[in-house]
Symmetry: C2
Subunit: 385 residues, 2 copies
């Protein structure tokens, strides 16, 4: 049914009406006092959301552009870096590092499994002459729904002392607590179409003083993604290049909504949506792709195996129930489906999705559950939270 | 007065209501058939607007990001390039080329004057062993309102045979005819907040088969701005990274509007808006910054000298008449003001702006014109067109 689409993918995520309305305002000039006021307000809001006093810079780019900027501004050609890879995005940061001639060492885990912090510890402890200049970790691996143990990995990076910690927080920032200052995270990249509750089009990078120190001697070529001019201009509440002003209108609205809800409430809401979704999937006797102890609060991946065809599930969910789920990527294309519960998502949305999923599974001949069990399990989590 | 702002700057430009409404639609998934349909339609529309069968690729970036992509994808470190510089944007492409270690030779002209094609000819003819790999030219120099003689410069590039011609068409594409296939332009960059009539947030690059040939041996580091994956994905009506789907909704609408108006009508409208504006400024006895023979159809710069303070003009225009004009940049900050007449601009807008300018000038004590003369001159051009 037209205009009835409900997005339950890990981005774009649903956008609240007031942010949509802000998008349709007439643009203003970006070299104006009016724009600078918005820039000042959203920058303050971003620092609040990032739990940091570090710079949080705003780029016209997808999350990938923001993460690339985070990597290439603070390193020199040939620098040794460790990069975690347990999914499509970890893989991508390896590719970025290689494209710029960095000396990348990859620490891998199977898709669906978390990275092992002890592997980082071993490499970092062995690096007694401090050649490792950065450790790149994807916090919430969107392709699998795994939340890596960033806190522990980061502890080992801090013990190393030299390496910068660079975090892909694209689907974690705003969904789970990421206390940048408390943990001392140097570079954290994210994108607007996730927990920010606005459409794609903006990327964000937070940068620590230690990273800015490294910036001084960094030598990888860059211009549009050179963060120095972003910082210099942000200090004057402006941007080096024309910003997408309408997206700033929407960001202003969504950050106000987030502040009204409060950080702790946002995080506990996401935790609860995740727990309810996982309880429902278990009640439906379908295998979860990520283990409980490494589950992303942003997205739940289901690996139905032979029980039912993942692509057929997605197809019926969309055609009959107007709910969009994400599929698997690369080797897991057609093998998993992913339920996004990130950003502007409420308890009712989970019940709708699970109820629709039950109907879909039944219509596809999967009967390994007692009808209603998924909805009951989800509701129990939600109402007891 | 709130919500009464009228933008007469060279971007962001005014956005039609139907494009604004499209922006506020709920996002859809970018890996969906629905998005691919939009992608296919806008790509077709972009080729029509670019008068080309070349690839026209769409990036989440400002015009600067698009131009940087256009430069860095087709060259090797140390390559010799010629770069025209007669304003802020020419200067920017010199900086980009230098940032990537290209061997840049700059052909300059004073701000407010056009580049001399004969200087390009001399360099290109002298380069008998074909070491010049690219010639970078800003078509409409936004900072000054000068339209460079791209047609002639390009003729010399074609005679050279080896060098690629790379064009910054950010404020010319869609305002003046740029027959990419007829002229054989290799790389042409532009941005959404200009003649496209939508907000900032998208950059466009058209790429010729000759440029793709050079891509095969190009070696400058890039990932987010690597155009190869954009081309590969565009062939499947999709994008390598999450695109700003709401901007695509708006682009779909604005391209339909442009097709309904027709290329020739769009170009003659801009020509007429420019001619009327310039006639009015002359009638007000204020000096034009760019000469008639090199005037941009997108923007008219006025250089009032001692007659009246440019920043005061802008201030009164904004405060009393809710019209935003652009100021000068760099050395010309405070010395010129710029009237944008690009994109969604009609005859009435010019009359409003000139009438308001007359009132502003009088209120600032400038009396070197007979009241009404500017409006009469503009109206004469517009009604006789």
């Amino acid at each position: 049914m037209d205009d009835k689409l409900m997005l339950m993918i890990p981005g774009p995520t649903p956008v609240p009406e007031q942010a949509l309305m802000a998008l349709s305002k007439h643009p203003i000039g970006h070299r104006s006092g009016d724009f600078s006021k918005i820039m000042a307000e959203v920058t303050e809001g971003l620092k609040w959301l990032h739990q940091t006093q570090n710079d949080v810079l705003i780029l016209t780019a997808s999350g990938t552009g923001a993460m690339e900027a985070g990597i290439i501004n603070f390193l020199k050609r040939g620098d040794r870096v460790l990069c975690g890879n347990n999914g499509k995005f970890g893989e991508r940061w390896v590719e970025v590092a290689q494209a710029y001639g960095l000396n990348v060492e990859v620490i891998s885990a199977e898709w669906g499994k978390p990275l092992d912090p002890e592997e980082f510890r071993a490499k970092l402890e062995a690096d007694t002459d401090q050649q490792i200049k950065a450790v790149i970790v994807t916090h919430s691996e969107t392709s699998t729904g795994v939340l890596n143990d960033l806190e522990t990995i980061n502890r080992y990076v801090k013990a190393h002392g030299e390496a910068l910690i660079m975090v892909d927080a694209v689907t974690s920032l705003g969904a789970v607590s990421l206390p940048i200052d408390e943990w001392g995270l140097d570079v954290v990249g994210s994108g607007s179409q996730k927990a920010y509750m606005i459409p794609p089009g903006l990327g964000f990078v937070s940068v620590s003083p230690k990273a800015w120190e490294a910036y001084k001697t960094a030598d990888l070529p860059r211009y549009y993604l050179d963060l120095g001019p972003y910082r210099k201009n942000a200090a004057k509440d402006t941007t080096p290049f024309t910003p997408p002003v309408n997206m700033f209108f929407a960001l202003q609205v969504s950050l106000r909504m987030m502040r009204a809800e409060g950080l702790e409430n946002i995080f506990s809401r996401h935790h609860c949506l995740m727990t309810a979704t996982r309880a429902a999937i278990k009640a439906l006797n379908l295998p979860l792709f990520a283990p409980d102890e490494a589950a992303s609060p942003a997205i739940t991946s289901v690996y139905p195996g032979e029980a039912v065809d993942a692509e057929q599930v997605r197809s019926v969910m969309k055609k009959q129930f107007d709910i969009v789920l994400a599929g698997g990527q690369e080797a897991f294309k057609g093998k998993i489906f992913r339920i996004g519960h990130l950003g502007f998502v409420c308890d009712r949305d989970i019940l709708s999705a699970i109820a629709a999923l039950e109907g879909t599974l039944s219509s596809l001949g999967y009967s390994e559950f007692s009808p209603g069990a998924g909805v009951v399990a989800a509701a129990q989590v939600l109402t007891s939270a």
